[in-house]
């Protein structure tokens, strides 16, 4: 093995220019791929973080996953019921405090009640449909990031202002209102409520900021026309990634439809899968392209070293041993290239993280999100090394398969 390494090292160290070009190719491929991975995952995680921060991890609603079976259907298997008249039922989750206490005993997180309804907000001639969520400020801080998203006022101000509401900055801008102004809320049953803007928040998601309004439980229940009703329980988990699993358990326990944030954003997350696939394809292509530099060098060396290959085989070195020389040469080029590529990748990521971008939609300047992960370096390095070995294997295999007599005769 020492001999093989010795020959391989001699080959690469006596071809400094070629070797450096090969290493540069690998470094570029590795560096830019790491940068791409950091950028893509950074932006994705940033988006998910905003998504997860903006909404509860699990929402328990006062409805069932499937339509309940009619009594006649339960009694007679062959009966098929159609056009069943709706039965008027009081909305809301039954015994919400009992359910919450039960959930708190085992879920890894916390739970808060809310009353959710839709309404129209009317101000200065503008009428905009919104979602009004009644919250308990003391418990809200346990399940959402609303407190930290406040730009004007505090959550507790809901209790101080008459029928106080907190709305998104984007909606306030649309309506032309500011904190302390009064707006008119019109409920589905025609109920009207003059509310004071107690504070403004910014979640970072325009869709939410333009449509979501918070109030105390009381005003929301008034707008619903159902005093004391709790139609939503919102859960926040210590680990958001457990949401799907916990939601299934909650649903099994309570019977109420429990929607995890992943389920609520399934379309968005599936688009991430497509995006990930595209990004991985591009990164794979970059690494593959960079390995062509190695292929080129090993092809050149094996071509130039045909006589050496022949003589080594004639001396009794086995074909695989000679082939291994060129694989090791590629590995040397690959490993050194990868090491420099790691440094380049880190520097590129660092450079990108210093760039800020102005968003005309939100009017804010935010730095580019970069995700630093050792896994990026390990995976990209391993794939690159594999590409280098593959790039060396084929020309080496071809060269070492040549019969030594053919080359010796040719040289003679």
């Amino acid at each position: 093995m020492k001999l093989i390494f010795n020959i391989a090292w001699t080959h690469v160290s006596t071809r400094v220019r070629q070797t450096l070009v090969g290493m540069a190719g690998v470094s570029m491929g590795v560096g830019f791929t790491i940068m791409m991975a950091g950028l893509m995952q950074g932006s994705q995680l940033d988006f998910l973080r905003q998504l997860v921060d903006t909404m509860p991890h699990i929402t328990i609603e006062d409805e069932r996953r499937s339509v309940p079976t009619q009594p006649a259907e339960q009694e007679y298997g062959a009966v098929q019921m159609a056009d069943i008249a709706n039965v008027s039922k009081r909305p809301g989750i039954k015994y919400p405090e009992t359910v919450m206490n039960s959930l708190r005993s085992w879920i890894p997180g916390d739970v808060a009640p809310s009353a959710k309804t839709t309404a129209i907000i009317n101000h200065g001639g503008a009428r905009i449909g919104i979602t009004l969520t009644g919250i308990d400020p003391r418990r809200e801080v346990q399940v959402s990031k609303l407190a930290s998203q406040m730009r004007e006022g505090k959550i507790d101000d809901l209790s101080r202002a008459p029928n106080g509401i907190i709305m998104g900055e984007a909606l306030a801008e649309k309506l032309g209102v500011k904190a302390g102004d009064t707006v008119l809320l019109i409920g589905g049953q025609g109920i009207q409520l003059n509310s004071t803007v107690a504070g403004l928040y910014r979640s970072g998601m325009k869709r939410v900021d333009e449509s979501q309004i918070y109030s105390l439980m009381g005003p929301a229940q008034v707008m619903m026309g159902q005093n004391g009703v709790v139609n939503q329980l919102r859960l926040r988990l210590n680990d958001p990634m457990l949401a799907q699993k916990v939601a299934a358990q909650v649903e099994a326990q309570t019977g109420y439809k429990s929607v995890s944030w992943q389920e609520a954003n399934a379309d968005l997350l599936s688009s991430f899968t497509v995006r990930d696939f595209i990004v991985l394809t591009v990164m794979g292509a970059m690494l593959l392209t960079s390995s062509f530099a190695t292929y080129n060098i090993i092809s050149t060396i094996t071509h130039e070293k045909r006589q050496d290959i022949a003589i080594m085989k004639s001396l009794g070195m086995r074909e695989y041993a000679v082939r291994r020389i060129f694989i090791i040469e590629a590995a040397i080029i690959g490993i050194v290239g990868i090491l420099f590529g790691w440094v380049l990748g880190y520097l590129l990521c660092y450079g990108w993280s210093k760039i800020t971008i102005f968003s005309p939609l939100t009017g804010t300047t935010t730095p580019i999100s970069i995700h630093y992960s050792a896994m990026h370096y390990v995976v990209v390095g391993a794939i690159s090394l594999l590409c280098c070995a593959g790039a060396a294997y084929f020309p080496a295999r071809k060269a070492t398969r040549v019969h030594p007599v053919e080359i010796i005769r040719g040289a003679s």
Binding site: L3, I311, G316, I408
Partner: protein, 246 residues
């Protein structure tokens, strides 16, 4: 009774293709241990082809080659490589030294490939071989710093590295001047005198005359075998192996 180092039995090497071409055609030959055999013949007669077969560099289409009594026709390519590494040493018309390596490293190459000796012992033997061929002061020079004769002597040292039974040389003096030719041939003669078998292909009749036996090949067949001193031992109709044993 003299021990046979190498024996070829009914050796045929044929190149198959649109037009089949026979390079070696039914050669029987036995070479004794410590014997110096020169293979001569006109260009294209098949002498180099025969040499490559005898050194297991090439595989015969028919027939058998026995090295130290061991049949080789059924050996795999890897096993043939092992036999070449341990039992055969090669010297070619061109030195074929690895250009990036020093003389000593080139000589160490077969020993390192065999991996039997310790590094210190290998270096000691490598230096001793170079010293015995008058190259002690050139041990750390690369091939491009040596003359043609010196390069060929390094190639001979490399061939001797693993103490092979048989040294196979294909026109080793073909690219050398008269002085170097004399030096190289004297070395090969000494090797044979020291008990190793030497088989040399040469165009030079004067050099061939200094071998123990001269095997003259024409059209892939043995045309004549002459012992040192000029006695013709065999005509093509007589089996040469039997004669050599006699």
């Amino acid at each position: 009774m003299t021990e046979v180092a190498l024996q070829a039995v009914d050796l045929v090497r044929r190149i198959e293709g649109d037009v089949s071409h026979t390079l070696v055609n039914g050669i029987d030959l036995a070479v004794n241990k410590g014997e110096f055999v020169a293979i001569t013949g006109p260009s294209g007669s098949g002498k180099s082809s025969l040499l490559y077969l005898l050194g297991l560099l090439d595989a015969p289409s028919e027939g058998e080659i026995m090295i130290c009594g061991q049949p080789t026709s059924k050996l795999s390519e890897s096993e043939r490589a092992d036999v070449r590494l341990t039992k055969c040493g090669f010297v070619f018309q061109f030195h074929f030294l690895l250009p990036e390596f020093t003389s000593l490293d080139n000589v160490l190459l077969p020993m390192r490939a065999a991996g039997v000796m310790a590094e210190g012992a290998m270096r000691e033997r490598g230096l001793a071989l170079l010293g015995s061929l008058g190259l002690a002061e050139h041990a750390n020079k690369r091939p491009n710093q040596l003359s043609g004769g010196q390069r060929q002597r390094v190639a001979i040292a490399r061939a001797l590295a693993n103490r092979p039974e048989i040294i196979v040389a294909d026109e080793p003096t073909g690219a050398l001047d008269t002085k170097s030719t004399e030096q190289v041939f004297s070395i090969l003669r000494d090797i044979a005198d020291n008990g190793q078998t030497v088989i040399v292909v040469t165009h030079d009749p004067a050099l061939a005359a200094r071998a123990d036996r001269r095997v003259h090949i024409v059209d892939g067949k043995i045309a004549e075998i002459t012992e040192r001193g000029g006695a013709e031992l065999v005509s093509p109709s007589i089996a040469p192996c039997e004669i050599s044993h006699a």
